[in-house]
Symmetry: C2
Subunit: 80 residues, 2 copies
Amino acid sequence: NGADIVASKNCASCHGANGIAVAPIYPNLAGQQAMYVEAALKAYRDNARGGQFGAIMTANAVGLTDDEIKQIAAYYSELK
Amino acid sequence: NGADIVASKNCASCHGANGIAVAPIYPNLAGQQAMYVEAALKAYRDNARGGQFGAIMTANAVGLTDDEIKQIAAYYSELK
């Protein structure tokens, strides 16, 4: 499920164990819109998002299936 | 200040009057990390972020000064 994928990808190292970013340059994801997170991860996966952390996120998103992306997005949207 | 710029740019039409997105495809911005919002707006301004809504956000961010971007980011980070 989403929690397992998030753990395996170590998303918490930037986005925090509770979805509140560990540093102000990373986005909080707790309670974020699932559909938005899904679209953003797909954009990173497609290497369509540059910017300061585009490369790091693309490296993390490449290889994720659509279903895994959906589960990650649902996981974060449900964090309060 | 940030509230005036956000009003003039009509950010609420997608991101909501209280920073909670009007539709699930747009990100919530209320309480988001200011430094992240600043970096994301600059990436859009630089046309470095593609993806589904890259073009819309680039059109909105082009022309914003660094100071205006900083004020928008601060405004949203302070919304609870």
